[in-house]
């Protein structure tokens, strides 16, 4: 049995041991004598190295940063091998690049290729060196401020990734294409995703993981990367699955757009604010249609007047579940699309446009037939013929204002359009349609007069008949 004193003695001894083991100060403070000597000059601004191509580089070293770096305890000459003590040779370099390349080679003295290759990112970069593309260690890791790559080194993941991806960095594909992996920080900071971390989208990548992926071409990478969007935007993703773009993609057309083609990747913006951007995005593939649209009454208002009321591509075609516009299904919905604005007083009133246009269409022969066909298809899956909708007379992307066109031309064009369905229609056939106007004595006297006659005659007739019947019944009752 040990005495109480012995216990205390052991505890004191252990405590002493612990204190003795912990260093009084962090190790980084220990600058070598040589470093102190070099820094007496190089920690001051003004030392400038001029290269043969007149590039300049300031030979300045931030002593605090160097002290805090992973190499803080090394001697300068450990890396700058040509220099030591009093030895300070005058060297000549063609350019800054040549100097940097030469300097960076020194890292490999300690950090052997075999050793650094164990990280996949290094292994890929090194393999590229064989094909002549050189990657400087210092590009990613820095030089005098070099730090051990660990979680604590960087404030956030973005900084960590941009350490490399902020520099010129390329990704090669089997197809021979090359993709720059350099990310512009300012783009990221302006995007709607500025609060996200890189790995939120680049799933599988992190501080510790940088998987090596192989894609046939750049397009395959884009398509694969766009899959990440659905992890947050699942509603939009499921909508796109109903779109013609997705159908084309699943049929093997890799040019069919995916999320990032319209929204961008690192520079994703809110579309709502700037509708011209939307049309511009579609233009990337649909150039011809864009040209036509930009000449239309809608397109001109959008681009010339910056009018935000006019429809852009997605207002009719929708953004995500874009349907094939050549189907009957789409066609039958066209009056709905137009009425979104043209039946909305708040939108069209200020341009002096009438909301009657939709009403008059829907209550006339074409409109009534269309609504029946639509219901018949929806409810009984009954096949239907094509029937004239708004766009058949007004055009689609090339809609022009009838006000800016001479009435005779409008009528001639209209007659031509009528003839597409009503084969032998005469030149005056367009007059059978009252051009969206409610009949008045001035524009359609015959229609107006007939309507008025019946408006008076029918009620008079009904009242007269009812009065006769009532009188008859009354007389019959009295006589009994």
């Amino acid at each position: 049995m040990l005495s109480k004193n012995t216990h205390t003695g052991i505890i004191v001894a252990l405590l002493l041991l612990i204190f003795a083991a912990s260093p009084a100060e962090p190790q980084s403070s220990a600058l070598s004598d040589e470093a102190q000597k070099c820094l007496s000059c190089h920690s001051q601004h003004g030392l400038v190295k001029t290269f043969e191509n007149r590039d300049t580089l300031e030979a300045y070293v931030d002593s605090e940063k160097f002290k805090a770096s992973a190499h803080g305890s090394l001697k300068c000459s450990d890396c700058h091998v040509d220099f030591a003590g009093e030895k300070h040779p005058q060297r000549r370099f063609r350019s800054k690049e040549q100097y940097k390349t030469k300097s960076a080679m020194t890292c490999r003295k300690c950090h052997r290729c075999e050793q650094i290759k164990t990280k996949s990112i290094h292994s890929r970069l090194l393999s590229e060196e064989d094909s002549g593309i050189s990657h400087l260690c210092t590009n990613c890791h820095g030089s005098h401020s070099i730090k051990p790559v660990s979680r604590k080194t960087f404030k956030n993941e973005e900084q960590y990734c941009l350490k490399c991806h902020g520099h010129k960095l390329n990704m090669g594909f089997k197809s021979g294409e090359n993709l720059s992996l350099k990310i512009d920080l300012s783009l990221l900071q302006n995007s709607v995703h500025k609060r996200l971390s890189c790995s939120d989208c680049h799933f599988g990548f992190s501080n510790s993981q940088h998987p090596q992926r192989n894609f046939k071409g750049m397009r395959d990478l884009s398509i694969a990367n766009s899959e990440t969007c659905r992890r947050c935007h699942f509603d939009k993703y499921t909508k796109t699955m109903e779109s013609i773009h997705y159908t084309m993609l699943s049929q093997g057309n890799l040019n069919a757009p995916v999320c990032t083609d319209c929204h961008g990747s690192h520079s994703i913006l809110h579309f709502g604010k700037e509708r011209t951007i939307i049309a511009q995005r579609c233009r990337k593939c649909h150039t011809g249609i864009f040209e036509v649209y930009s000449e239309s009454v809608h397109g001109k208002a959008l681009f010339d007047e910056h009018n935000q009321d006019v429809p852009v591509c997605i207002d009719c075609h929708t953004a995500h579940d874009i349907k094939n516009p050549l189907t009957l299904d789409y066609r039958e919905k066209i009056p709905d699309m137009c009425s979104n604005c043209h039946a909305n007083e708040a939108v069209v009133r200020k341009y002096g446009l009438s909301t009657d246009v939709v009403k008059t269409y829907l209550s006339d022969f074409h409109g009534v037939t269309l609504s029946f066909y639509r219901k018949q298809r929806e409810e009984f899956n009954k096949p239907a013929r094509q029937i004239a909708v708004c766009t058949d007379c007004h055009g689609t992307h090339n809609i022009v204002s009838t006000r800016s066109t001479d009435p005779a031309t409008v009528k001639t064009n209209l007659a031509r359009r009528c003839q597409q369905c009503h084969k032998d229609a005469a030149k005056n056939f367009p007059d059978t349609w009252l051009s969206h106007y409610e009949p008045t004595l001035a524009n359609a006297p015959l229609v107006f007069i007939v309507t008025m006659i019946y408006k008076i005659f029918t009620p008079v007739m009904v009242i007269g008949i009812i009065l006769q019947i009532l009188l008859h019944i009354w007389r019959y009752a009295v006589n009994r």
């Binding site: 029946f372 018949q376 032998d424 005469a426 059978t432 007939v450 019946y454 019959y476």
Partner: protein, 229 residues
Amino acid sequence: MADHKIKRFSTYRIAEHWVHMAIFIVLVVTGLSQKFYYLDISLWLIFHLGGIDYVRLIHRYTGIIFLIAISMHVITGIAGIAFRRWKPTMVINKKDFIDAVYNIKYYLGMEDHPAICDRYSYRQKFEYWGVLIGSIIMVFSGLILWFPVFVTRFLPGEVIPAAKVLHTNQALLIFVIIALWHIYNSIFSPEIFPIDKSIFTGSISRDRMLREHPVELARMEGRPIDEMQ
């Protein structure tokens, strides 16, 4: 002699009434459901008739049958008068207007007996001509709507929308006349309720003849109108 039956309509007229009744029902069902296309009952009807295309087809071909029936009616009517097979009893004359005023006075208690009418009372004549002229309007405006391209080669384009408002309004008017006036007079009128069968059987009781067509009855029986009872 009270329940003595008097022959009023020939078999041809009985058949004609049946045909017109059938045509009328088909045209009203297929036509008014198009006029009031937004009502649920119209949708139900049209869908159950095989869709709007079928409804229009039925309506148009029934319209052709109607055109034939109307033409036959007018031709036989005129021919009958021309060949003195029957008298122009349906023609409206001055007496009908006098009768109308007289009858309203009677209803109001200002006269002690109703107007004394011939084979067709003023009410029947007005209904007949209203429906006949209306039907002719319907047939022609219907044809214009069926062949707008052909029609506008000779007539201004505005004729088409005018024909449309004419067709649709006249349709409603005829429907109202038949549904209110004709149905009242031949079914719901307390004098003949539950139904006036004379157009189906072709005969009428002497009692009703005496009450409704005393002039004709007097002529048939060869007695002066004042002695009729």
